[in-house]
């Protein structure tokens, strides 16, 4: 081991000293910054991960839409199903209806789903809390949880559904009566918008309500796990007939603005919390500068023993690096330790404040999600170590500038 690395180690952890106080304080500062970064970025990542999973669970990995109706859905499904990487395709039709219950009208979005194929693409069963998907038929409807809560409807109740087709028919003096459907289930996805204003019916019922005949509005596509959705999207677009006017878009492309905001939030949190590490680095700089002043004669001695200014500088840079590495290791331990007990802490907090129900209703979760991407972890480690090492540069520069003869005279 080069002398400057050995001495850097010894100055941080001196022989015979059980508790190196200055080192411990410096390491603790960096560790707290790292721990906070790990916890915050993990929780932010957890929310993002949950939201992404929810998007894919409700839209599939890829969505195919055209400018108008798709009149030959079976042919298109056949084409898309043959594209390598595609594991399932399901058609959908969508729109807005007026739903009336106890003379209380609301205007939710409506999705017509193909019961034969829906489970190949969207795991709806997972989200139906009351009733089952198997109970859905042309005379029944599934409501989203907050919508059902807002009108006070429950499974078994009957609702009236009116569609814009009624207005079209009225123009031609025809009568199109509202459809009466029985609530067969209530679903909760975990997305405020979907859970407050969406209803599900069979594709046939939707085609009936909108007068679509056999046409649909588009298709949700599921791909093999781990495959890049953009790659499969390009393959699907290549397979679609150019004259169909259909275009496949990956879930990332469809939600790029939302995903951008999610990423922006995470990046901002990262930058803000990184300032804690920067502040800790200033404390490291301060400690090392004091050390340079205290050890002026020793620095002179190192020159007299044959150490070059570059090696003296490296000795102090290494101290910054060692504090950074130690702080990062401790910070990761604190951070992952806290993440491990985060739900216990949350449950204790909500129990003490009586806010468990409000939390679940507002955030749709009872546990704090956490997901740390390897890239984020590497970024935290690298930025902390780089900042800590840089904290040693000013003291190192000052130490290197000391002339041995002047340092030795410093009695």
């Amino acid at each position: 081991m080069p002398w400057y690395l050995y001495l850097a180690l010894k100055q941080l952890f001196p022989t015979g000293k059980k508790f190196p106080f200055f080192t411990a304080i410096s390491v603790l500062g960096v560790a707290l910054g790292v721990a906070l970064l790990v916890v915050s970025i993990s929780v932010m990542g957890g929310f993002g991960h949950e939201i992404r999973r929810m998007i894919v669970d409700t839209q599939g990995d890829v969505q195919i839409r055209g400018s108008g109706l798709v009149n030959n859905p079976k042919a298109i499904m056949g084409l898309v199903a043959k594209v390598p990487g595609v594991t399932g395709v399901t058609p959908f039709a969508e729109g807005v209806v007026m739903l009336e219950y106890n003379r209380k009208p609301i205007f939710p979005g409506i999705q017509g789903i193909d019961l034969t194929h829906i489970n190949d693409v969207i795991p709806l069963t997972r989200y139906i809390h009351n009733g089952t998907l198997g109970d859905l038929d042309d005379d029944t409807i599934i409501l989203s949880s907050q919508l059902a809560y807002s009108i006070g409807a429950n499974v078994g109740d009957k609702v009236q559904i009116s569609s814009p087709l009624q207005l079209e028919k009225l123009k031609n003096d025809e009568v199109f009566l509202p459809r009466e459907l029985t609530i067969s289930g209530i679903f909760e996805i975990g997305h405020q918008q979907l859970d407050s204003s969406t209803v599900l019916v069979t594709l046939r019922r939707m085609q009936d309500l909108y007068g679509l005949g056999n046409a649909v509005h588009g298709f949700d596509v599921k791909i093999v796990d781990g495959l890049d959705p953009d790659v499969v999207t390009r393959r699907i677009n290549a397979a679609l007939p150019p004259a169909s006017g259909l275009e496949a878009r990956s879930w990332m492309e469809l939600n790029q603005d939302f995903l951008f905001v999610l990423q922006l939030e995470k990046n901002l949190i990262f930058i803000l919390l990184l300032f804690i590490v920067v502040v800790a680095a200033f404390s490291v700089t301060s400690s090392l500068l004091i050390s340079v002043v205290r050890k002026t004669r020793e620095i002179g001695l190192l020159g007299a023993l044959g150490g070059s200014p570059r090696e003296v500088a490296l000795c102090f840079c290494f101290q910054g690096l060692l504090i950074g590495v130690s702080g990062t290791v401790c910070g990761l331990a604190f951070g992952f330790g806290f993440l491990h007990v985060r739900n216990d802490i949350l449950h204790l907090f909500t129990k003490l404040t009586g806010s468990q129900e409000a939390l679940e209703r507002f955030y749709q979760f009872s546990n704090v999600p956490a997901y740390l991407q390897p890239g984020d972890l590497l970024l935290i480690i690298a930025s902390t170590i780089v900042i800590s090492t840089m904290a040693g540069i000013i003291p190192a520069w000052r130490a290197a500038r000391l002339k041995p003869v002047e340092a030795l005279r410093n009695e």
Partner: protein, 220 residues
């Protein structure tokens, strides 16, 4: 091969003190042969320490040159192997124990293994500190610290030892013992010694005595 280990040629050194220019060294010349011990005495401020720093390559003269074994290379790369230094204030590294302080000088010249550690232990034993090898400087007496410094100066088998008032912080008896040890070890290893001292008795023990006065060096 020349027998001259150290040669100083026409060294001049001046310092600025406010508007005044202080001439600290004026045309100083000296040579030291292999195995020779030379003492330099003089009153405080006569330029002894300045001369020693120039001889050690820690400072540059305004004029003249210093040669180590015939070479003007007195840089850090050569210093660790060629030169050992002993200071009045010992200058041990407080975070290291006695053995590690000696080993530190060895680290300056290359990797340290068990053979080097054994050599350092033997050197500590030679200066009478075998039992104190794992004591940090704060737990050593002044005399013991200076003996560690002597062991550190000699561990790389240098050709030259420069000692700057090594007994200045020691009582008379301990100082005598340290000087006797230093002279003995230098004689055993044929290491040249330049000893700056105020003590006439210590100076008398060296093979040659020089006197520094007003920046000039004369034979005592």
């Amino acid at each position: 091969m020349s027998n001259v280990i150290l040669e100083a040629r026409a060294l001049r050194k001046t310092y600025l003190s406010g508007d005044r220019r202080l001439e600290v060294l004026n045309d100083v010349a000296m040579t030291v042969a292999r195995g020779e011990s030379v003492s330099i005495r003089g009153e405080s401020g006569s330029g002894k320490s300045t001369l020693l720093h120039l001889l050690a390559g820690l400072d540059q003269p305004d004029a003249g040159e210093v040669l180590w074994a015939g070479s003007t290379d007195t840089g850090t790369g050569r210093r660790a192997k060629f030169l050992g230094m002993v200071f009045q204030s010992f200058y041990l590294i407080p975070e290291l124990d006695a053995l590690e302080n000696v080993v530190m000088a060895m680290r300056m010249v290359g990797p340290v293994g068990s053979a080097e550690r054994d050599r350092a232990k033997a050197m500590l034993a030679r200066v009478g500190l075998a039992e104190r090898a794992h004591h940090v400087p704060a737990h050593l007496s002044g005399g013991e610290r200076q003996r560690v410094a002597v062991a550190r100066a000699l561990i790389n088998s240098p050709q030259l030892i420069l000692a700057d008032e090594p007994t200045g912080n020691l009582d008379e008896k301990t100082g005598d013992a340290v000087i006797a040890l230093l002279l003995q070890l230098c004689a055993e290893t044929q290491t040249a010694l330049v000893l700056v001292t105020h003590n006439a008795a210590h100076a008398a023990k060296t093979s040659r005595s020089l006197l520094m006065h007003n920046g000039a060096l004369n034979t005592a």
